[in-house]
Each structure stands twice: as structure tokens, then as C-alpha cells.
């Protein structure tokens, strides 16, 4: 009897659970797969182009970060000398913000009209808007370009942003959201003397906070990463966006010069950061909104 109990007590050694180990191996491999390119980008921004050319990516962190940053931000590229990293960053910002805000405003207003006003054919209008999801920019790019060109919108911010702004996605999400707002809230506001504009600004917009935040995340990143349309609509170098500009620099790779690794990767880094910042910032806001407010 004593023997038996002794052996049972002695037994607990830490058993390795192989399935657990495997899970972690998969996760670690996945993380590395995503992280290593980013680390290479980071590393390359800290060394000189010559070193990168000679040795490829290294494990050591160099001392050239400041120089590369300065290069990337202020050094002119192209022929005109008008597009620096700074100007491209500003252009990208304008595109991202204009795109996101424009889509949110248009989407909210369209949804407001569809949900709250007794429009004739409102449902038909909604489904028409909805079917435009099937016609992304790429499908209608030639007519869109022609219209923009005829309106003299080439090489303008208006031309860059406005033709992209109508959004079935945003309209759809705001419509669904507005329909979930209790009817009594509208009625209470009517009795409180709030007209359509006041109701929209004082009540509907604040209630939509979380929806706006979510839309902003999606649309900002979407706008920031636009490549095809900016390429078509802007030919002046001072209108280039970051996503386009990086391409311009990496083209040097085919030349005989030593490619500007440091500068190109620095620009790539700069191109990544704002979307990441937007996601991080708005996500916390988004979650806060979700948990705090109730309709």
C-alpha cells in the first residue's frame, strides 16, 4: 500500500505536450514569416547603400539611420526635383484623409437619405448603389479617366480624390447602422424641436462614432494604398504619393549605379507607419465606443 502511494507521488515530472509544441512552432514560423521582411527593411535603413550592396542584410544595426532619413525626406528624386519624401508623404496624407473622410461623409449622407426620408424608390436606389460594388475602379477606369480628364482634373487633388469617393460599402454599413437606431429617438428629437440637420449632427453622428471609426480605419488604409488611380491621374512629380514614389526609386535597381537601398527602404517604412498608427489609434477608440455606449 505504502509503496503504491509513493510511486503515484513520485510520478509528476513535467510532461512535454507535443501538440502544444507544434502549435507554437507553427505560430512562431508564421510570425517570423511576417516579421523578417520588416526587420530587413528596418536594418537596411540603418546602413549605407554600399554596405548593403556588398553584404546584403546583416544582423548588426548600422549608424546611418539619420542620414537615410534625411535623404528620404528631403532629397529630390526624378527630373523636376519637386518630389521629395516630404512632398510624397503630404500627398499620401491628403489622399488617405480625403478618401476616408469623403467616403464617410458621402456614405453617411446617402444612408441618411435612404433610411430617414420617405424617398420614392429608396429601396431601388439602395440596390443600385449596392450593385456598384460589382464595378470596382479597375473595371471602369477608362471612362472614369476620360471624365476626370475632360473636367480638367488631371494633376489635381480633386481629381485624385473625388472620383473615388462614392462608396457603396460605407453607404451599406451606415444604412444598416441607422436602421438599428430606435425609432423613438427620432421621434423624441422631433418633439424636442430638432430638424433633419440638427438630428443628423446632434444625435445620429455622435451615435455613429464607432461606425465612423471602423470606416475610417478601412477607408484610410484603402486610400493610402491606392496605386492605379494616382498613377493614371497624376503625371506631375510633385503630385506623386509615397506608394508611387517608392516604385520610382526602386526602378534604379536596374541601373548601373549602386541602388539607393537605404532611402527606398526608409520610404517604405514611412509608407507603412501612418496606416499602422491609424489602425492602432482608432482601434482603441473603436473598442471603447463599442463597450461604453448603448443605443
Amino acid at each position: 500500500m505504502t509503496n503504491l502511494s509513493n510511486t503515484t507521488i513520485a510520478a509528476p515530472t513535467r510532461r512535454i505536450r507535443w501538440s502544444r509544441l507544434l502549435d507554437h512552432a507553427v505560430l512562431i514560423a508564421g510570425s517570423l514569416f511576417l516579421l523578417i521582411p520588416l526587420l530587413i527593411v528596418l536594418q537596411t535603413t540603418t546602413t549605407t547603400d554600399v554596405e548593403t550592396m556588398k553584404n546584403g542584410p546583416q544582423l548588426v544595426i548600422g549608424s546611418q539611420f539619420d542620414d537615410n532619413l534625411k535623404d528620404a525626406m528631403v532629397k529630390a528624386s526624378g527630373f523636376s526635383g519637386e518630389n521629395t519624401g516630404m512632398s510624397m508623404l503630404i500627398n499620401s496624407m491628403i489622399l488617405g484623409l480625403g478618401f476616408a473622410l469623403g467616403k464617410i461623409i458621402i456614405g453617411m449622407m446617402a444612408a441618411y437619405a435612404l433610411v430617414y426620408f420617405r424617398l420614392r424608390f429608396a429601396t431601388l436606389a439602395f440596390w443600385l448603389i449596392f450593385t456598384t460594388l460589382l464595378l470596382p475602379l479597375e473595371v471602369r477606369i477608362l471612362p472614369s479617366y476620360e471624365i476626370a480628364q475632360k473636367l480638367g482634373l488631371l494633376n489635381t487633388y480633386t481629381g485624385l480624390i473625388v472620383p473615388l469617393i462614392a462608396s457603396a460599402t460605407a453607404t451599406f454599413f451606415f444604412r444598416q447602422f441607422f436602421r438599428s437606431v430606435p425609432e423613438e429617438l427620432v421621434e423624441a428629437a422631433r418633439i424636442d424641436g430638432a430638424g433633419p440637420v440638427k438630428f443628423f449632427i446632434d444625435i445620429l453622428a455622435p451615435l455613429s462614432q464607432t461606425m465612423i471609426a471602423a470606416m475610417f480605419i478601412i477607408m484610410f488604409v484603402y486610400g493610402w494604398n491606392q496605386y492605379l488611380w494616382p498613377t493614371m491621374i497624376t503625371t506631375d512629380e510633385d503630385m506623386y504619393t509615397l506608394v508611387r514614389g517608392i516604385k520610382q526609386i526602386t526602378q534604379d535597381l536596374e541601373g548601373t549605379n549602386i541602388p539607393e537601398y537605404g532611402r527606398a527602404n526608409m520610404l517604405a517604412l514611412i509608407a507603412i507607419l501612418p496606416p499602422v498608427a491609424v489602425v492602432i489609434f482608432f482601434q482603441s477608440w473603436f473598442v471603447k465606443g463599442l463597450t461604453e455606449s448603448d443605443k
Partner: protein
């Protein structure tokens, strides 16, 4: 302050459903009128037409002798309290209460003092900076009240404002609302399907059924002289007993030849007797068989058979009761007679 007059008001919804048949009544200045009826009878529809939230299909609605059929809700000088309170969730209590004033371009310092006054009246002073989600059901209810009283309207409209509260709180709020209305003297229309609320709060009750008015009267009139079997069975808990009877020889007869009470006329009738209008005596004339005794603390309900028809008696806790045969007497002048075909009072 206002008197309200409805003249043949009718509502047909877009799908062709007639929710309110042509309905007329007047409400005097400062009166508290309760609209009561079963679910779906058109109470809310009627109230919302008065508020201007629903179009009036036919008829004339006047507030203070001004026809308001096509006047915007905001310009009717009314305030409404909704069943689910409809507070603006993103605004503090202070802003919720003050919103209607702000939209009417009242100066900020005036709004603040009015909000403070209303908050004091409703014991909300400590909660002015909270959001509605941080309040209890009763407090939210009070904020909804605050939003109504702060505007000092001519007419209060309530649509089942207490139905989301538990029984105890409902009782308390019932008294508070009534007291507040008395104090402010504002004409009020109050919708409920709870007949206790109707009885306790109303100056006058309007009983609705299927979009029609069954009866208008003071709580006492409605209770003691119901205009139809519908009202008789809707108002009162437990409801009035309704049994088949017959008039003969100046008596109300049931089941062959038992005479219940004197009454003139002849022919079949429906007889209505309130459960508490019955006394139990060993030497009383009428046989009653008790099946179930329901113990309610302050009183007892005896469910049983009177001449083979279901009948309920309400007795005080001091009256001992056991299932089995007993004898009862009807108190004098407590019989209501109805036409068995139409259900109308005779």
C-alpha cells in the same frame, strides 16, 4: 395649459388597416386622462396622432381651439414620455433634459437654471453629469420626465411610461407622476394597458377596444357602471363575474328559480357582479360551491361555481374559507345588467 378636442379622428394605416375608428372626445384644461385597453387596440396610435408623430387620416384635432392636424410636433407645445424613455445615449442627463430648450434658442444660463429646477423636482441633481447608461431604470424614467417638464408644455403625453419598471418602482413612480401632474396642473394623456394604473391615476378613463371607445368616465363610473361586458371584464382584478341569467317577475333569476336580486324587465341577460360585492352567510339564500381558495394575504379569492357557472368571490382575510359548499348573498344595488347579444349595458 390646454384643452384638447378630438373630432371624429380616424386612422387608417398605409396597409389599409383601420387602427382607430372615428373617435371624438374632449379633454378639459388640467385634466389627467388615461387611455386604457388591451394590446393592439390603438392607444399608441391615438396618442401619436395627438403628438403629431402619425398623420391623422380624417377628423379634426384641436389644442386650445387651434386646429393642429398639420402642425409639426415641435410646434404643438407638447412633451412626450416614451415607453423605453428614448433618452439620447451619448448625452449627459443635463444635456438630455436641456436639449429641447437648446433647440428653441433659449439662452444657456436660462437652460441651466431650468434644468436645475427640473432636476431638483425629480431628485436628479446628483446625476446631472451621468450618461443614461449609468442610471437605473427608475432614474432613466425620471430623466424622461425631466425632459418633459422642463419645457413647461401645454400637454403631457405618456405612452406606457412605467411598463419597463418592476412592480414596486412602478407603484412609486405612479404616485410621483400623478403628484407632479397635480402640482404643475398640466393637461395629460396617459396610455397604459394596466388597469390599476388607469384606476389610480386618472381623472377620467377612456377604455378603447379594437380602435373604438367603449366607455369614457371617472374611475368610479367605469368600475361600478361599466358600459359593456368588455369594460366589465377588462377593468378590475379579478374581473367582474359575468353569468347568464334571466329577468322574470321583477327578479333576476339564475338556474331555474333562484332569485338573486330585484330588477325590472324580462328575457335573457348577462349579469355582472363584482367579486367583492358578495357576502358569505350560513343563512344566505344562494348556494355557492368553492373549488379553490387563493390566499393573497390581505384578502382571499374564492373560485367556484354559482349555478354551474364560473364565479369568483373576494373576501377579507378575516373571513374563513374552505373549499366546499357555502351560501352567499349579493349586496344590494350591485348587479350590472348587459344585453347578452351586444354586450351593452341595459
Amino acid at each position: 395649459m390646454a384643452q384638447v378636442s378630438l373630432n371624429n379622428i380616424r386612422k387608417i394605416y398605409a396597409n389599409g388597416y383601420e387602427a382607430v375608428t372615428p373617435t371624438s372626445f374632449d379633454i378639459a384644461d388640467g385634466e389627467f386622462v388615461v387611455l386604457v385597453g388591451p394590446s393592439g387596440c390603438g392607444k399608441s396610435t391615438l396618442l401619436r396622432m395627438v403628438a403629431g408623430l402619425e398623420d391623422i387620416t380624417e377628423g379634426v384635432l384641436s389644442i386650445n381651439d387651434r386646429q393642429v392636424n398639420h402642425v409639426d410636433p415641435a410646434d404643438r407645445d407638447i412633451a412626450m414620455v416614451f415607453q423605453n424613455y428614448a433618452l439620447y445615449p451619448h448625452m449627459t442627463v443635463r444635456k438630455n433634459i436641456g436639449y429641447g430648450l437648446k433647440n428653441r434658442k433659449i439662452p444657456a444660463d436660462m437652460i441651466e437654471s431650468k434644468v436645475q429646477e427640473a432636476a431638483k423636482m425629480l431628485n436628479l441633481t446628483d446625476y446631472l453629469d451621468r450618461k443614461p447608461s449609468q442610471l437605473s431604470g427608475g432614474q432613466r424614467q425620471r430623466v424622461a420626465m425631466g425632459r418633459a417638464v422642463v419645457r413647461d408644455p401645454a400637454l403631457f403625453l405618456f405612452d406606457e411610461p412605467l411598463s419597463n419598471l418592476d412592480a414596486k418602482l412602478r407603484h412609486q413612480m405612479r404616485i410621483e407622476i400623478k403628484a407632479l401632474q397635480r402640482r404643475l396642473g398640466v393637461t395629460s394623456i396617459y396610455v397604459t394597458h394596466d388597469q390599476v394604473e388607469a384606476m389610480t391615476m386618472a381623472d377620467r378613463i377612456i377604455v378603447l377596444n379594437e380602435g373604438r371607445i367603449e366607455q369614457i368616465g371617472t374611475p368610479a363610473e367605469i368600475y361600478h357602471a361599466p358600459a359593456s361586458t368588455f369594460v366589465a371584464s377588462f377593468m378590475g382584478a379579478p374581473p367582474m363575474n359575468l353569468i347568464d341569467a334571466r329577468l322574470a317577475d321583477g327578479q333576476i333569476m339564475i338556474n331555474g328559480n333562484t332569485a338573486l336580486a330585484p330588477a325590472q324587465g324580462t328575457g335573457a341577460i348577462t349579469l355582472g357582479i363584482r367579486p367583492e360585492d358578495v357576502e358569505i352567510h350560513d343563512d344566505a339564500p344562494i348556494h355557492f360551491h368553492v373549488d379553490i381558495v387563493e390566499e393573497l394575504g390581505a384578502h382571499r379569492l374564492l373560485h367556484g361555481q354559482l349555478a354551474d357557472q364560473d364565479f369568483t368571490i373576494h373576501v377579507g382575510k378575516d373571513v374563513a374559507a374552505t373549499p366546499g359548499a357555502t351560501r352567499i348573498a349579493i349586496k344590494p344595488d350591485c348587479c350590472c345588467l348587459f344585453d347578452p347579444e351586444t354586450g351593452k349595458a341595459l
